[in-house]
């Protein structure tokens, strides 16, 4: 009758499907790996290198050619410079073809003249070293035209210095720097505070808002739309609005607090420790509660209403229904949301950057990447922080996928 083992060959249909699938996926796979995978590898690479912003341009010899003097004392001047003040460049030389109609005087070492072809060889150029080559000449004909001719012809330069980005020198210096002292742990603590409270706050607020809107009434759509505004508006707009609103000297919030007698003098919400951290967390909650609200509402509306009717028949009171029925039902979505939001809040950069620039005790890991890489121009250190973030992230994702495969969906 039939054999007991599954066939190993793939069916014609399956083969066709797989082939088409890869064809359809290819553009995405290629582009995403180019812009996501490759950079991630790059950042790991860089994190092990002493690499600053200025190293982006490897040291190179720079030659400038100009016509100097007048009358008898005419000369072509080549000024050669090492673009770096520290690093030496090997094998530096340049060559140039002198224009026709010029009579060349004496050429000194390290240059030699071969017909109209000038070749100067400098060997190694030390950091900050400059050379000036003067070629005395006499010119017949139009001087201006000749000047143009001289200055518009570029000499060919050879010689290159070591490129920090591509060589194979690695060091742990960046990581040492990142983990150095109390600063890192401070940043980590701020990140965790921000992430944990931002996430929980947004969930709780979202839950409350969802409870409010989990009934149908006229205008429900409008209110729902309204409550989504904080999330939909550009972060730049709302962040600056908050900064304006809470400005200690001319912000309306402070004026209101003073007027209502809650505070006797203006409070610098975004400028004081630990208030600033609390405020950026509040901002995070404010901006992202709509999202949790949307998801929780969707889940609530998918709960079978007859379950609540059964509870009505069973005599459960409203609070009992909430605690004993709704909350357990929402636990799944809440935990998935928690995990996802946790990761996203952990990754958040824009908000804090715009609100406080990472000052007043609000520097999170992501802001630290920016600070290290750009404010201090130490890309290597920035990359090291980024690698720390990636490691955290891998840990989170691991938890996430273990969880989500159990919680299925979303």
């Amino acid at each position: 009758m039939s054999s007991a083992t599954p066939p190993t060959a793939t069916g014609a249909l399956a083969k066709r499907e797989a082939r088409l699938a890869w064809a359809l996926l290819a553009p995405t796979v290629i582009s995403v790996s180019l812009v996501v995978i490759l950079p991630l590898l790059a950042i790991i690479w860089i994190s092990f290198k002493p690499f600053t912003l200025s190293d982006l341009r490897p040291p190179a010899p720079i030659v400038r050619e100009s016509l100097r003097g007048s009358g008898d004392d005419m000369r072509i001047e080549y000024r050669l410079r090492n673009s770096s003040q520290e690093i030496a460049i090997d094998g530096v030389s340049f060559s140039d073809v002198l224009p026709d109609g010029v009579t060349v005087g004496e050429v000194t070492a390290p240059c030699v003249l071969d017909g109209q072809q000038l070749l100067c060889d400098f060997g190694t150029l030390e950091g900050g070293q400059r050379e000036r080559i003067r070629i005395p000449i006499t010119v017949d004909g139009d001087l201006d035209a000749f000047e143009d001719l001289v200055e518009n012809s570029e000499p060919d330069v050879t010689g290159s210095g070591p490129n920090v980005l591509t060589n194979l020198d690695f060091s742990l210096e960046n990581f040492a720097r990142v983990f150095d002292g109390s600063e890192f742990w401070g940043v980590l603590w701020v990140t965790l505070f921000y992430t944990v409270f931002g996430t929980i706050g947004a969930l709780v607020m979202g839950l409350f808002a969802a409870l409010l809107l989990n009934k149908s009434f006229r205008g429900q759509g409008i209110i729902r739309g309204l409550y989504l505004f904080p999330y939909v508006a550009p972060v730049i707009a709302v962040a600056f609005t908050w900064v304006t609103l809470f400005d200690p000297f001319s912000g309306s919030a402070n004026a209101l607090l003073v007027q209502m007698g809650i505070s006797s003098e203006p409070i610098n919400f975004f400028g004081e420790r630990p208030l600033a951290l609390i405020m950026v967390t509040v901002f995070e909650i404010w901006r992202y509660f709509p999202l949790s609200f949307l998801f929780i509402l969707a889940r609530m509306q998918s709960i079978d209403s007859s379950m609540y009717e059964a509870a009505d028949m069973d005599g459960a009171s409203p609070f009992q229904k909430f605690w004993l029925l709704s909350i357990p039902q929402l636990l799944g979505i809440l935990s998935v949301l928690f995990l996802l939001r946790f990761i996203w809040t952990f990754n958040k950069f824009d908000d804090i950057f715009l609100l406080t620039g990472g000052n007043a005790g609000t520097r999170t890991l992501t802001v630290n990447v920016y600070e290290q890489a750009f404010a201090i121009s130490n890309i290597g250190a920035g990359a090291a922080v980024a690698v720390v973030i990636l490691i955290c992230l891998i840990a989170f994702s691991f938890v996430f996928f273990r969880f989500i495969s159990r919680e299925e969906g979303l």
Binding site: D304, S306, E309, A310, A311, D312, M313, D314, S317, L331
Partner: protein, 348 residues
Amino acid sequence: MGSIELKAVEKWFGSAQVIKGIDLQIEEGEFVVFVGPSGCGKSTLLRMIGGLEDISRGALSINGNDVTDHPPSKRGLTMVFQSYALYPHLTVAENMGFSLKVAGVSKAEIAKRVGHAAEVLKLEPYLERRPKDLSGGQRQRVAIGRSIVRDPTAFLFDEPLSNLDAALRVEMRYEIAKLHQSLNRTMIYVTHDQVEAMTLADRIVVLEFGTIAQVGTPRELYERPANLFVAQFIGSPKMNVMPCSVSGDRFQLDNDGAGPFDRTGAATKLGIRPEHITVVAPGAGHSDGVVEVVEYLGADMFVIVDCGTGEMVTVRLGGDTDLKPGTKIGLHFAPDKLQFFDADGQAL
């Protein structure tokens, strides 16, 4: 303990009237089934009794007390839903004990009553499972168990079996019947399945667009339908209905068929059930027709006959026959089983 009375009960959804003034008296211990086509208001009526829908007009009393304005929890009724409506995050035992828990009953007492109900419904092995780990029939049993635990005045069932497959449905039907025998509590049961209605009910309430078309025992409804609606609604295959006219003591069909007429009134429709027709030689019966389709169903055979009266006439023959489509035959109607209806559809 357990009598329910509806007085001129109405239900309006906005300006749409869904229940149009229903009076009904349900006796203690009675098993009443609401049937009717989809959308006729069965569920709405049941939910109004249960307190899940407001009663727009009229009054409801249970055991003689007016409970029209009481919330569901105060009416002492329980309800079993079509979708089971179990609490998915609670175990079977917790599901069944939920109503006691919210009422603050002691743990020991809850365990005792849940244990008892589980025994009745043979649910003991599953008490620690979650609903999602149960089969459909088991879930429905848990839902019933949840009701039993509360020891209610009356049970309300809203199409409890329609999510189950055929075999299970039959089985659960027996169980509900036995439950009614043993508990002897009032039960109100909504279904659109005739077989359930016929086999379970002490009395059937046939609803038609929010009004009661007929109330009676299954046999009354089958044998003496009060109107065309009930006649056609009850019975499967449904009653054959042919237009007819009456002259004196004879009725006359559109296709020249005729027979004796022993009622009073102006009959415009004649009804005869498929099993009350026998096949005879052409011209020898009340009507002639041509066989359209012969359906073999094992135990029975349905012959669909075109008598030229518009609708097909279905004849049920026990066992074998050698009729072929296209054969011309005569149909004889059992005279004492003929039903006549007037222009308003009322039985004569």
